[in-house]
């Protein structure tokens, strides 16, 4: 199974490197959104709660773009059949796709978060980088898991560009709550404060519950 997961991950990363259908779009979208926020909020800089909110709303919307693309190649180029014909556990596809989505999000954040710091963030985030990375990682796991589930649901529909966002966003609200509340102390004007452990716990719980659920249920989505 590990071999199959690795094969799918490598294949997707290779295709993305060649065609750039997901990550560049997510990135451009994020930066445009930051500019939009500048004008919409009429603020030169944001800090604290507001900064955390702007960052996470942007990241979540950008993630939705990535989720919509996640299974498109499989659907359009017969990849589902190719995978289903192989003597491999179906859950391997879930783990592989979630890993790919996580990788896309990490690549996105590598550029988008510094862009956010430059464009909109008031206080300097340097001291808070380790905690920020931790929160981002925990949240990304949750987005990856839920995103893969929603992507797999959406790919079967005729209106997937619409179904994916309306399904994913409510599901990700607890994650947004946890991530934003965990991030806001890091963006305080007076200097980064500690991240309240309770929100990391909320994120961890979310990841665990949805991870287990997705594991149990994904098989049924691929059946016919």
């Amino acid at each position: 199974m590990r071999r199959a997961i690795a094969a799918v991950v490598r294949k997707d990363v290779l295709v993305e490197l060649r065609t750039g259908e997901a990550v560049p779009a997510m990135l451009l979208f994020s930066i445009s959104t930051f500019v939009l926020f500048h004008f919409a909020l009429d603020r030169r800089s944001v800090d604290g709660d507001l900064a955390a909110g702007v960052l996470w709303v942007t990241l979540l919307f950008a993630a939705v773009l990535g989720i919509v693309r996640l299974f498109v190649a499989e659907r359009e180029q017969g990849g589902f059949d190719g995978f289903l014909l192989a003597p491999v556990d179906r859950t391997a596809l879930f783990v592989a796709k979630a890993t790919v989505l996580f990788a896309f999000l990490a690549a996105l954040e590598l550029v988008a978060v510094p862009a956010f710091a430059i464009l909109l963030l008031g206080p300097s985030p340097w001291d808070a980088v380790p905690e920020l990375v931790l929160v981002l990682a925990l949240a990304d796991v949750g987005i990856a898991v839920v995103g893969t589930l929603v992507g797999a649901l959406g790919i079967q529909t005729r209106t997937r560009e619409v179904i994916v966002p309306i399904l994913a966003l409510p599901l990700m609200i607890p994650l947004a709550i946890g991530a934003a509340r965990a991030t806001s102390p890091l963006f305080l004007e007076a200097g980064a404060a500690a991240v309240p452990g309770r929100w990391l716990l909320v994120l961890g719980l979310y990841d665990l519950v949805f991870g287990l659920l997705a594991f149990a249920v994904f098989d049924f989505l691929l059946e016919d």
Binding site: G79, D81, P87
Partner: protein, 231 residues
């Protein structure tokens, strides 16, 4: 559990399958011995592709029983997936990857080495174009690569949906030893070329509206009988 090497390649009894509310297959009963060829005829929409997909374990039977290479579907499908090769209408290749990368991917999925990929590409005459992206290939070339993909894991049962479509006579000749009788695998062949299909077959299945109108050894079936199916 029976993965006996002496049982029939395919054993169907009263197989049924529906798409939503529309019946695609009903009451199909037949047996195909190992190494033998089943030719499937029928007009468009008669259920040929559905049958192939059920045998490939991509669709579960909705009625009746189906056993492929000794394994009951769908319960034991996992046991035989690695021993079936499907060549459908879609080549199942990623257009942005090269031929070699595609075969490498499928080899890894099936847990087989890449050595065979090179030999197969050579045999179908695609070795020189191994590093070209699939999107640059003509349909005939993509079909040849798809044949390599289907054979990569040395399947005991070949499911072929019009394998020679899009192939020029030269290419058709090149692939014949791989997917023809000489391959030694049991084969289920869908073809619109009635004479060719009958010549290749040991058993003939004629479908109309999802039901088996003809199930007989190839020797006892005339070309005219098959043509009736298309009226």
């Amino acid at each position: 559990m029976a993965t006996a090497t002496d049982g029939p390649a395919v054993a169907l009894r009263d197989l049924g399958r529906a798409y939503g509310e529309r019946v695609a297959l009903a009451g199909v009963t037949l047996e195909l011995p190992r190494g033998a060829t089943l030719a499937v005829f029928g007009a468009n929409g008669a259920g040929k592709t559905t049958l192939l997909r059920v045998l490939a374990t991509l669709l579960r039977p909705h009625a009746g029983t189906a056993a492929v290479l000794g394994a009951t579907l769908p319960r034991e499908a996992w046991a035989v997936r690695g021993r079936i090769g499907l060549l459908g209408h879609e080549p199942l290749l990623y257009r942005d990857l090269s031929v070699r990368e595609n075969l490498r991917f499928h080899a890894r999925l099936h847990g087989v080495g890449e050595g065979r990929a090179a030999a197969l590409l050579d045999a179908v005459g695609m070795a020189r174009r191994a590093d070209e992206p699939v999107r640059a290939l003509s349909r005939g070339m993509a079909q040849r690569v798809a044949i390599c993909r289907a054979l990569l894991h040395e399947p005991e049962l070949l499911l072929l949906d019009e394998p020679l479509a899009n192939l020029d006579p030269g290419a058709a000749g090149a692939v014949a030893p791989l997917i023809g009788r000489e391959s030694g695998a049991a084969r289920v062949l869908i073809s619109h070329d009635v004479e060719l299909g009958l010549a290749e077959a040991d058993v003939v299945l004629g479908l109309r509206g999802g039901r088996a109108e003809i199930v007989a050894p190839a020797g006892s079936v005339a070309v005219a009988d098959v043509r009736e199916l298309y009226r």
